[in-house]
Every structure is written in C-alpha cells, then in structure tokens.
Symmetry: D2
C-alpha cells in the first residue's frame, strides 16, 4: 500500500484545508495512506509531529480557514534556525535527516502546498536529494507563474472588495478620501482586481510607479464633477515615481525614513494628499483579514481540484512538477518553471485596460 506525506508551508491562505481534505479522500479512493507533516517540514524532522490523516481528521474541514497542520512558518530545512545548549541560534542543514525519515516511512511522495518560497525548497529536495515531490501552488497574491490562478486569491480579492464596498458610504457621507492598503509586495493583482470590482477611483500597483500630482489631480477632478470623496486602493508594494526616479518601498531611504515611520505606503500617500489637497484623508491597512476566514466557493473548488490532481500526478509518477490551472483544466508543469519568477500584472493585460477605460486612475498620467 502506498503512503504519501503532505505539508503546508508559508503564509496562511484560505483553501489549505480543502487541499488537505481532497488529498486524503483521493488517496483513500486508491487505498493509500496519508500523513500530514505538522508545521511545514517539522513532521518530517521529528516524527511525533507526523500525523496520520483519516476521515476523522478531515471531516468538515473544507470550508474552514487556516490549516489543520498548524503553524506554517518554521524555516527552511536547508538552513534551519536551531538553538544550541548555550541558547545561541545557528542555521543548520537538516535536509538529510528529513530524507532519512522520508525513506524510513516509505513515502511514495511528498505533496508540498506552498508559495514560491516553499516550492523552491521542494524543488531543491527533488533535485538535490531525489525526493519525489509534487507542488500545489498557494499564494493569495496570485503571483505564481505557470498557473492561471492560485487558491486563496479569490477570497483575498473578495475580502478587499467587501471592505471597499463598506468604505464607499462613509467616504461619501463625510466627504473623505479613504485609502485601503492591500497585500501585494511585488504584484498588483489583489489591488487591481478589488479596485475594479469595488469601484475605486484610484488604484496604485507595484507595476506602475505613481505620481502624487496625478493622484491629486484626479481627486480635484472628482470635486469638479460633484463627487466630493474618493476611494484609493494601494498595494503594499506600490511606489512613487519622483524626480525622474522610482522610489521603491525596499529603498526606504529615498522616500525618507521619517515619512514612512508612521505606517506603510497607504499612510504615506494619505499624508501627501492631505498636504496637497487639504482633503480629510484616512488610510487603513487590511492586513491579515485578507489571509483568513473561510474560502470562497471558487477557492474551495479550486483547492479541492488541486488536491485531487496532485494525487493523480503521484499515481502517474509525475514528480518535481506542480499542479496548475491552464484555461480551466488541471495540468502538470515543471516546478522549475513555476518558480523562475514572480508573475506580475502585464501592462498589456485587459485588466489594466479595463481599469483605465472605466475611469480608474492608475497614478501614472
């Protein structure tokens, strides 16, 4: 009888439990056993953190948030922080110990559910250690190449859109500019999608450096047309274009440390607008709300399909590959391709065009 192990790594994403459910049920249908590695690779490192997953463990977990495999950010097995007797922290490569345990348990394969960090580690295990690995893409940012969509993204966009919906009435009632900072360090998928759906006036994304004057002009323009409020959606990684150069968030010295002291880019933009336009401007950070809670129906279904497809790949010995959604169907793509680079919003994307055409200012001109 075959036996597989599943782990969930990286940040929280709605749909993780649905993947686990699906992997367990699909394995059962083949008479296979499934083990869950708690806390990322921890279960493969210390066998008392390895838990047998049966019907009992996965009952009713599909619609729940979080992951039943517990805390996910426990470090890279190739450089794991370990405390020695003196209380000092060292980085240690524990990958061989993991391979030993993996082989001792007789696992057919490891299904690694994670974002680009986790998938890169999985790929390294495949290449360097010969572990039969299958990746399941997970990132609420939707910034993974080689798959049309990742689970968790639809839920994050829905949460952000609902927040924007709620802000409309207050912005309007109080003649305010309200800024919502959403996730997206390198890509603007969440900001752009929720900004379009929620009817934002301005959307700022990392792919398009913004100009503060352009933003203020849009707000003044609104006023002239009798609209005395504005909603701005800003991705956490959005950056200002200034004196011909782009100011990245990672390069904080350029915006000025004291300017960013009070908050993220949302608060920075708020301060600029307050100063330039005199409008009552407030910002809020959606933060963890986007990662948590029950997955939308779309994400549930996608996660369940990913899980079942991963087990199908295991059956067909398709290792060092990742489950992927391609034009609505499941496909297997090499892990190496998936992690090559982050998927950014292409400037030619119809979403960018749609945003501009329905009157959303993207901060550039």
């Amino acid at each position: 009888m075959n036996r597989i192990v599943i782990s969930t790594g990286g940040g929280d994403a709605p749909g993780l439990n649905a993947v686990i459910y699906s992997v367990v049920k699909s394995s059962q249908a083949r008479g296979w056993e499934v083990y869950g590695s708690r806390s990322g690779y921890r279960g493969l490192l210390e066998l008392d953190e390895l838990v047998r997953l049966t019907d009992e463990q996965v009952r009713d977990i599909t619609p729940t948030g979080g992951t039943i495999l517990g805390s996910t950010n426990k470090g890279n097995p190739f450089a794991m922080p370990v405390e020695n007797l003196a209380g000092e922290i060292h980085l240690r490569d524990v990958s061989d110990r993991i391979m030993t345990n993996f082989n001792r348990m007789g696992f057919l394969c490891h299904i690694a559910v994670g974002g680009d960090g986790s998938l890169e580690i999985a790929h390294r295990f495949a290449v360097e250690k010969g572990m039969p690995v299958i990746g399941v893409p997970k990132t609420i940012d939707n910034d993974l190449e080689a798959t049309q969509m990742t689970f968790g993204f639809d839920t994050a966009v829905s949460t952000a859109t609902e927040a924007i919906d709620k802000l409309h009435s207050t912005a309007k009632s109080h003649d305010r500019v309200l800024i919502v900072e959403v996730m997206g360090r390198d890509s603007g998928w969440i900001a752009l999608s929720s900004g379009i759906s929620g009817g934002a006036d301005i959307v700022l994304i990392p792919e398009i450096p913004f100009n503060v004057e352009t933003i203020c002009r849009k707000i003044t323009d609104n006023e002239l047309h009798g609209k005395h409020y504005a909603i701005i959606v800003v991705a956490e990684g959005a950056c200002a274009e200034k004196s011909g150069r782009i100011h990245k968030k990672t390069d904080k010295s350029e915006i000025g440390r004291q300017e960013l002291l009070l908050g993220g880019i949302g608060e920075w933009v708020a301060a600029k607008i307050r100063k330039n336009s005199g409008k009552d401007t407030r910002s809020m950070v959606l933060g963890h709300l986007q990662r948590g809670g029950s997955p939308t129906t779309f994400d549930r279904l996608l996660a369940l399909r990913f899980g079942a497809a991963a087990v199908r790949m295991a059956e067909n010995n398709q290792f060092d590959q990742m489950v992927s959604l391609v034009n609505g169907e499941m496909e297997a793509v090499p892990l190496a391709d998936a992690i090559k680079q982050r998927k950014k919003v292409p400037l030619s994307s119809d979403k960018i065009m749609t945003a501009r055409e329905i009157g959303i200012c993207l901060g550039d001109y």
Copy 2:
C-alpha cells in the same frame, strides 16, 4: 461622435448591471454615447423605450442584481407576439423596423448581452440584416461554448454551495436524506461545482444518466460507516437510466406523468429513495435564488471586463463576434462558433474525476 446601443436578453443573471456600467464608462472614455434598449429589443422597436445612459443612470449599479434595462423576456424580433385589434396574438417579424430605427439613430453597433437564444438572434441580425453586433455571453449555467466562463455562474454556484452548507447540519441532526435541485437543464456545471464544493454525497447531472439502485447503495454504505444522513445535489435536467434506456425529463411519459406530478426530478428521486431505503427524505428546489442577488466579486470583475472588452471590439470593428474569456484573458470569437452547441461537462473533465476521487457518487456505478 459614435453612439452605441446595449440590450440585455433572456433570464436574469448576476452581473448584467456590471456589464452595462462598464460599457457606459468605457464609451465615455472615448467620448461616445450609449443608449440602453429596454426589455430586450423593445427599445429598438419603440423609441420611447430607448434610454440614454449616463453617469447618473449607472451610478452604484455594479453590485446590484437584475438589470436596469428592465424585463428581459420579450420575445424574438424575428417572430414577435403582437396583439391585433381583435385581441388575437400573431407572430410578426419586426426585424426590419428594428433595423430602420437602428440606422435612424445612427448607432455604430449593438452590444447584445445574452445567453444562447439572445446571441443566436444577434447573429441572425448580423448575417441577415447587416447589423454590426457584438455579443457578451451571459448564462448562469456556464453552458456556452467558446468561453471559459460566463458571468453569473460563480454567483449561482456560490448560492447553491451556501444552501448545501446550511442543509448539512439539519440533515445530520435529523438523520435525513436531503435533496437540492439546482439549475442545469442540459448541463451539470452548477450541480457538479456546488456538489464538490459543498461536500455532497451524491451529484446527479444530465451528462451521466443515473441508476436509482446505485444511489440507494451509496446511502446504505454511508449508514454502514456511521453516517446516517446524505446530501444529494441534482441538476434539473438529470435523468434516470432505466431498463437499459435513458429517461429524459423532456420525455416524461417514460418516467410516468403521475410520478413527476408532484414536482421535478428532485422530488422524483426523493420518492424513489423513500420507497427503496425507508429513509426520511426531503427535497427542495433552489430555483430563482440562483439567478438573483448581488454578483460575487468574481462575477463583478468578469462582467466589468466583458463590458470594457466589448467596447474595445467596437472600436476595432470586430462585429458578429463575441467577447470571450480564454485562459484568463479577453478574446474575440465568432458568434457563429459560440452558439453552435451547448457546452456540456466533458466526462474526461478533471471536475468529474475530482468528484469521484473524493468519494462523491455520480449515480452511474
């Protein structure tokens, strides 16, 4: 200045207003005027049903259900029911009058939002009358060829999944078999998607004729494993396989008129289960709940993109074509291709495989 007209036809679908919003805003961005034809083609037939759409008309309509263009089922212009003075109803071809009005108004094109019926009429106007037509696909059943997804579908699946979620606790508390009949006369997309997401035990779709004994065996099997309840999702067009032949719903004489008298296929299945297994079995029809209400974020965004893409096609003179979602991006496909046939769930679809693998009985064996 260009001027275009938009109509919405066929059954209600969440997202219609988002398409209208997007068409109006995208046209404004080009300095174009938009008119809405109320009640399908009625506005092109009687000009007082033609309404100029401006900011005022489309403000805040994106998240709303229904269509601001009013009642949608007003007949086929090539065979319109018209009452004569004697009060008799005749079918009359009013297509030429519509073309006259269309030309008199100087419309650049007609954006027809509708399902296969409406798109077929639009195509006929293009071919027979030379009307520059652009189709926007709308069907909550998702059964249109040539597009990966239609708006309204995600909302319908979400509504059905929420209903299934709610039924779980009652089914469990009362040891009952609960049956939900969902939309899908010719295809099982809604039933299959919501059945997988909602954790149904059995899903019956038109593409797979079902066997009552198979269903009852699954229920008995549940009992043996300590699960004393079951949830069944059945598409309205599902049909039983009986004595070697398939009993279609459209061929009611075979199931027996008296058997279907009390309700649809859901109630028919309930009666069979009650008789065969003695279980307390209830059925409900979700009906209009699936068509109504606010679109999900996914559907909002898709509808907004469709609307903007349609105006882009108008700018490029891409007529007799339909907006389509292909692997996540907008494309134009010939209307003729789109309406050739209904898209059924392919038996090789990974959704079918996923359902079976996670333990859902599809009624066939």
Copy 3:
C-alpha cells in the same frame, strides 16, 4: 466537584453549539464537570451515549450549525418508541430509568436546551420526578412566551430576508409574482420580520386569515402604479378566510385535499393568483435552509449568554426555571410560565403597524 448534564432536543437551530460551548466553559470556570447527553435523552438512557465535554470537544464550535450532541428528535422519555423482540413498536415510559442514571452519575442538574416540546418534558421531569432542571429556550419560530427572543430566530429571519432580496431582481426582470413560503406553523414572526426587512408586497401570517381577492387587488394595484411584479411571503401556517369561515391548514378538508396536493400553502396561493390574475406566478419553499448554517452574530451572542446564565442559575439552585431575555438582560422565569402557550404576533404589535404603514398588504382588507 459538581457535575452537570446538558441535552439538546427538538429541531435544529443555529446557536445550539454556542450554548454548549458556553455551558462547558462557564462550568470549567467553577471547576465543574459537564457531560453531554447525545440524541436528546438518549445519553441518560444508555450511558455509552453520555459524553464528557471538555475544551477539546467544544473548540471552535461556536460559529457552527447543528449540534455536536447529534440527532435531536428521538422521542419523549415518558412515551418512548421501543422495538420488542418481535419487531413491534411500543411506547414505554423510560423516565424512571433516566432518573436512576441521573442520580447514579451524581448530576447537580440537567440543562435542557429545546423548544416548547422539550421544555414541557423537562418541566415534567422536574415536577413528577424531582429532577433539578434548567431550561434554555430554543426555537427559530420565536414563539416561546416569557422570553423576548430565542436564539436561532435572527438567523432564520436573515436567511429568509436574503432569499427575498435575491428574488426581487428576478421577479422584476420577468414581471413575475414570486411567493416564498417560510417557517411558522402557529405564528408569523419569521414571515412578518423577513417580509418587512426584505420589502415584500404581501405578507400572510397565521394570526391574520387572508382573503384571496385582497391579495389579487394588491397585485393589480401594483400594476396600475407601474410595478409589474410582486413578492409574497407566506408563513406555512397561514390560512385563508373563505365564505365567512377560517380555513386552517390543519383542517385541510376545507381547502380541499386536491388543492393542497401539489404543495403547501405557498403553492395554493400561487394557484389562486395564477387563476385570478393571469400573472406568471411561482412559489418556493425555503424549508430547512432556515434551520441550518452558521448563526448570525446576534444569535451567537444570545446563545453564549443563555449558556452562561444557565450555569449561573445552577449555582444558585434556580431549578424548574428557564433562562430568559427580558429587556436585554438575562432573567430566570418559571418553566411552567414559559410553556403555557405559544407566543403569537399580537395584532397590536408595532411590527404589524409598521408593515401596514410602509405599504405591505397583510391579506385582510
């Protein structure tokens, strides 16, 4: 150390698990032990159905639907259906056996969560057998005297209102009369509350016998004012006034068996309207959807307060009494008072007045 037992009886209601959670945690705070009796009194009858409830059992159950104590409709211990060796069903009084077990376990008291049926049984145990009983009122119908509100009601009204919201757009798009049948055999609380909130045109409740002509007149009136659709909310126990006499649903012979054959009162009203007005009229039964799913925040909080208050009553030896909400605070009322009669909607209630004043027809004139 004190030890108490909790049971949940009667139909499903959102919030049952929140009561259990609160009883367990409040007992722990006092160093007490809690046992749950599975399937109503089954756990007190057969001790292997009695389960010790600890943190583990109640973790994360507050927002869930159903009851972790399992199927709730298992009969009255004073007349329990029992199968003998010959397979015949007899009613047996098992109340003494239950008292023996109750005493053997050394329970301080029994917290009985249920509707009027379950509370009546609890009261009988108190009076006839001397069991120290505390009632917690549960009915989604809100028809219990002696408490301002029961948990489950707000969720049921919310579910019904959401359904009505969804039907509006379809009714409007298709010029239809849509009828929703909601729960309420003896009282119209759900129908009236959801009808007002959801903007129904007509609401029919058991407290006010309706007149079909009045209903049809309202629909015609709508038409004259340019509103070509209508939404009707009807409580399952609503009845028509006919030829001077009231036709109760329980007295089906008067409406005519063949007339009610095809469905409940909703379908009956639909048939009448179709015949009288010729309007396209459809009905749907919300049914179990109202009982299931996650409780609203309001119901969660009320259920948690009820549970904690019940344990407080146990500490103060307030037995044969029921937890009650009186003007927003918790009070103890005699069980005898609570079960005297069903709470109907008083005709002088401001909800009745509000309905009429905002233009809702109640079917009477």
Copy 4:
C-alpha cells in the same frame, strides 16, 4: 395636507436609508408629504438643499449603506462655521433662519435621526425655538440611554466579529498575538459583544481600566495550555491602569506622547506585549469598516420600525420625544432623558459576567 421634514446627522450608520424609506412610506400612507434636508440642517438653511422625497427617491434604498441625504457632518446650527468675504471662519447662530424656513414650508414636524450630538441640537430647537421635533436614535456604539438598542450597532458588531473570525486562522497558523481595535470611545459595547461572539482571549473596554501584566499573564497562560496564539479586542477608548491611576486616551501625556505616536491604543498594547512577552504581535484598526455597508437584517428591521414609529408619534403630536426600543416594542421617551448621559456597559451586566465565565480576560485581574 401635512408635510414633514427629515434630516440625518452625525457619523454614518447602517440603517439610515431604511429609516428614511420607512418615514416616507408611512407618511404616504397618511397622505402626507415628506422633505429631506440634505447635509444635516443644510436643507433647512438653504432651500435648494431641501428635496421632496417620493417613491422614486426611496426605491430600493432599504438595504443600502450611507444616507441618500448626503454628507452628515455639517456643523451645529447654533454655532455654524461660516466664511465671510475676507475668507475668515466665524461661528454663527443660524437657528432662527432655520425656524423661519421651517415655518415658511409649513412643516408639521422635524424627524431628526442622529446620535447624542444631533439629538441634543434637536432638543434645543424644541425647547428654545419651539420646533416640533421627534428624535430617532442612531449610534453604532449603542451608547444612548433610554433605548435598549440603536440601529447600526448589530451591523458594527457583526463586521467586527467577522474580522475576528478571519484573524483566528492566521493567528493560529503563525503563533501570533493579533489585536483588533474597534470603535467605542466611551463605552465598550462593540468590543465586548464582538469579543464574546468571536471567541477573543482578551477584551479591553473603557469601563474597565486594564493592567498590562494581567494581559501578558493571560497570554503566557494560553501558551502553557498549548495555545500559542491570542486574539485581543480593544475598544478605542480603553485605557491602562498604571501606578494606581487611570490613563485615559484623552490624557495622552500620561501614556506618553511618543508611545501613542505610532497609532491608537491597539498599537500601544501591541508594543507592550511585544516587549513583555516577546511574542510576534500585530495590531489593526477596523475603523470605518464598522460604519459602512449594508445593514444586517436586524438593523434593517429596527430602522424600519423606528421610522414608522416616528411618523406615528407625529400623528399623535408627541414632540420633543425620541423613538425608543423597550423590551422589544416601540415607545416614546423624552429627548431630555435620552441625552442625559452616555450608556456605559454596567459592570453588573450579564455580558460582563458571560465574558469572564467563558474564559475571556477583561484585563483587570
């Protein structure tokens, strides 16, 4: 024919439009005319801001957020900021001009929907100027005396509870302490209600000065019981007890300006916990999300009942009074009583007891 005027004042609250709808419909039922004063009293000051409200204006507004009467914070008519020709701002008493307009329009009465500030102004108009005024209580904080509940509160608590629900999974997945700052400057109703419903570990309210050590002890206690995360809900007006004295937020100098620089009380608590316990601690401010969006079914119904009751009071000449919910029914109470003082959470409230009993730390011991 009678004619009344309605205004909405103060901060945004879900349900304002439902009150307006109900006032308009209830007035129509009596053959009365209704006018809306835009931007608080602005419509009574400048008659072009006074708008006749008919069916057309109020169609479908019941479930919407915000207020159709526009921006609400436009100053106190007894001391209105007015700009003179030199561009200087002066406070001017415009109450007489308002009374002149009120009389010239022949209004029977003014229905003032607002919080304690707006109701105080309304009361002053009644007492000093003889305006026939009827108050409708509105505050999402629920801190108005003389009514069991205000509309908007249930929606705010629901929004906060949903946010807490979403944070649970992330807190758990990442072993974090997450802090949510909710509204409540003077009273802890929202914090306490959402904290109980959402299963928070710690709730901090203005009524109970908190002790940082107590909080840290609770977190350590969680750890010892194997729970490596915690959720803290803190009302914006909560304050620390320090060196025997209470540090109010309004008295920031005592907490230290630099400490509060980076954010509100939530961030202050986060910093303390980070320092004392070393736990990864994050805080977020829910802010405007609590004020916006569609009202819950509960709030819709309450708002509709308030509106109808206000018109009933107008009919009975019950002026200088406020609509109030008393044990589930509508009553009229003197405005003077309503505004005497803010309703705080009584320490003897069963909600306080419930919180403690189910294991929530209130920060005091």
